[in-house]
C-alpha cells in the first residue's frame, strides 16, 4: 500500500494487513477495495461520517464480519482459510465495543478470567491472578467482586479493556469506546487508552475524540462511503485536510466541540 513518505515509518514489522478487502451486506457495498497495513506498535485513528464503514472495517480484522474479496492477514496468518486461523487471529487481537458487552451475569473478575480459563485452559487461580493484574492496570481492581450493573459506564468500559488485555493480545481494536459514555466518564477511558498506547500497544481506534487522536495517533485515516479517502498524520489531517469530504467532516465535528 502506498504509505506516504512523510509519515513516520515505524521500525516494526507489519502486524495487520488488509489487501483489496471488499465487504458486502447483501446488495450494499460496505467496504470498497480497502488496503491498510499496520505495523507493530502503531496507533491508528479511524474517523469518518456515520455509515462510512468504520465499524465494518475493524470488525473484518477479527472476523466478526466475513469479507467477500481480498485478504486479511494478522501476524502472518491469513484469516479465514481455516477455522483455526480465525481462532488464532482472535486470540491475537483484543476488541472493545461501544456498548461494553460485558457478561452481565458474571462478576468482573469472572468476566476477565473466563477466556483465559476456557480458551487458554488456565487453572482458575492462575487466570484470576492474571485478571487482577490487568484490572489493577486499568485502576479498577477494587471492583473485582462486583457485577457489571453495579459499575458506572466508564468503569465498565475499563473492565472491557482489561478483559481484552487479559488475553495478552498483539493489537487492540476500539469501536467508539467513549461514545456511549456520559461526558464526565470519557476522560477516564481515554486516559486508560493513552496509557496503553504509551506501553506500546498496537491500536486501531474508531473515535471522534480529536484530542486523543492528536495525542496518540501515528496516522489518522478518514473514511467515507466504504473507502479510505485520506491518510495523514494528525497534524496534517487537522490543520490541512485535503479531501473535501474530510474538510466538511472536520468542520462538522469541530464546530460542535
Amino acid at each position: 500500500m502506498p504509505t506516504k513518505s512523510k509519515l513516520p515509518t515505524s521500525e516494526g514489522k507489519v502486524l495487520i494487513e488488509l489487501k483489496n478487502v471488499d465487504k458486502w451486506y447483501g446488495g450494499f457495498h460496505a467496504l470498497k477495495d480497502i488496503n491498510l497495513s499496520v505495523r507493530k506498535g502503531e496507533k491508528i485513528v479511524l474517523c469518518g461520517p456515520s455509515g462510512s464503514g468504520k465499524s465494518t472495517l475493524i470488525r473484518c480484522i477479527n472476523h466478526l464480519e466475513k469479507i467477500r474479496g481480498g485478504t486479511v492477514t494478522v501476524d502472518g496468518r491469513v484469516m479465514g482459510e481455516t477455522a483455526k486461523s480465525v481462532e488464532g487471529v482472535r486470540r491475537d487481537i483484543g476488541m472493545v465495543f461501544q456498548s461494553f458487552n460485558l457478561f452481565p451475569h458474571l462478576r468482573i473478575i469472572d468476566n476477565c478470567s473466563l477466556a483465559l480459563r476456557r480458551v487458554k485452559k488456565m487453572p482458575r487461580d492462575e487466570a484470576e491472578k492474571a485478571a487482577r493484574k490487568y484490572l489493577d492496570r486499568v485502576h479498577i481492581l477494587e471492583q473485582a467482586e462486583k457485577y457489571p450493573a453495579q459499575l458506572s459506564g466508564g468503569q465498565q468500559q475499563r473492565v472491557a479493556i482489561a478483559r481484552a488485555l487479559c488475553m495478552e493480545p498483539k493489537a487492540m481494536l476500539f469501536d467508539e469506546p467513549t461514545s456511549a459514555l456520559d461526558p464526565e466518564m470519557v476522560k477516564e477511558v481515554l486516559d486508560t487508552m493513552i496509557e496503553l498506547a504509551r506501553d506500546g500497544m498496537t491500536m486501531i481506534c474508531v473515535t471522534h475524540e480529536m484530542g486523543f487522536a492528536r495525542q496518540v495517533a501515528d496516522r489518522v485515516l478518514f473514511m467515507a462511503d466504504g473507502e479510505i479517502l485520506e491518510e495523514a498524520t494528525p497534524q496534517e489531517f487537522f490543520s490541512n485536510p485535503k479531501h473535501e469530504r474530510a474538510q466538511a467532516f472536520l468542520g462538522d465535528i469541530l464546530g460542535h466541540q
Binding site: 458487552n101 473466563l114 488475553m167
Partner: protein, 215 residues
C-alpha cells in the same frame, strides 16, 4: 352407597402420585430434549435449524390429545405392545420438549448480539459460549415462562386418562362414579390440583419480581 372417606381420599392421592410422576418425567425428559431443540433452532446450519422448527411446529400445531392417540394406538398398530405408562411418558416428553425448546429459543435470541460478539472477539468457542455466556442468561430470563409451562403440563396430564392412565383426574372420575357425588369429588380433585399448581405459580411470579428488580 357410602360417603367420601379415607379410602377414597387415598385413592385420589394414589392418582396424584401418578400425576406428579408423569409431570416430573416429562418435564425432565422434555427439558433435556428441549435444550437440544433450542440449540438446534439457533444453529448456524440451516438444515438443523429447519429440522428443529419442523419438530416444534408439529407438536405445537397439533392437539396433545391427537399426539397421545397417535403414539398410543400408532405404536400398538405397529405391533409394539406398549403399556400406558411408556406411551404417555413418550407423548408428554415430546410435547414438553417442543414447548420448552421454543421458550428457550426465544430467550436465547432475545439476548443482545453483543454477547455473542464479545465471546467471539475473545476467541471463546461454541461450547463455552453457550455454557458460560448464553445459556445462563437465557435460562434465567426464561424461568417465569418455564414455570408457567410446568403448571400447564401438570394440569395437562389429565388428558392421559383417555388412554386408560389412572392419574388424578381419572381417579376422581372413578370415585365419582362409585359414590354418585360428582360435585363433591370433583371439587376435592380441583382443590388438590390447586394446591399442587398454586405454589408453582407463586414461585414463578416471585422469580419474575426478583428478576425485574435485578435488571
Amino acid at each position: 352407597m357410602h360417603d367420601f372417606g379415607i379410602p377414597e381420599m387415598f385413592f385420589l392421592l394414589q392418582g396424584l402420585k401418578w400425576t406428579v410422576l408423569l409431570t416430573a418425567i416429562s418435564f425432565v425428559g422434555g427439558g433435556i430434549i428441549g435444550l437440544a431443540i433450542a440449540l438446534a433452532r439457533v444453529s448456524r446450519v440451516a438444515i438443523i435449524r429447519r429440522a428443529a422448527a419442523t419438530y416444534i411446529a408439529l407438536f405445537q400445531g397439533t392437539p396433545l390429545l391427537m399426539q397421545l392417540f397417535v403414539i398410543y394406538y400408532g405404536l400398538a398398530l405397529m405391533q409394539f405392545s406398549i403399556d400406558a405408562w411408556l406411551a404417555v411418558s413418550i407423548a408428554y416428553t415430546a410435547h414438553a420438549s417442543a414447548f420448552l425448546g421454543d421458550i428457550w429459543r426465544g430467550t436465547i435470541q432475545s439476548l443482545p448480539a453483543g454477547q455473542t460478539e464479545a465471546s467471539n472477539a475473545l476467541a471463546i468457542g461454541y461450547v463455552s459460549r453457550m455454557r458460560d455466556v448464553i445459556l445462563p442468561q437465557a435460562l434465567k430470563i426464561s424461568l417465569p415462562a418455564t414455570i408457567g409451562f410446568a403448571v400447564q403440563l401438570t394440569k395437562g396430564t389429565s388428558l392421559a386418562a383417555i388412554v386408560g392412565f389412572v392419574e388424578l383426574a381419572r381417579a376422581g372420575q372413578i370415585v365419582s362414579n362409585l359414590l354418585l357425588q360428582p360435585l363433591l369429588v370433583y371439587g376435592i380433585v380441583g382443590v388438590i390440583y390447586f394446591f399442587v399448581c398454586w405454589p408453582m405459580s407463586i414461585f414463578g411470579s416471585a422469580m419474575e419480581k426478583k428478576m425485574s428488580l435485578g435488571r
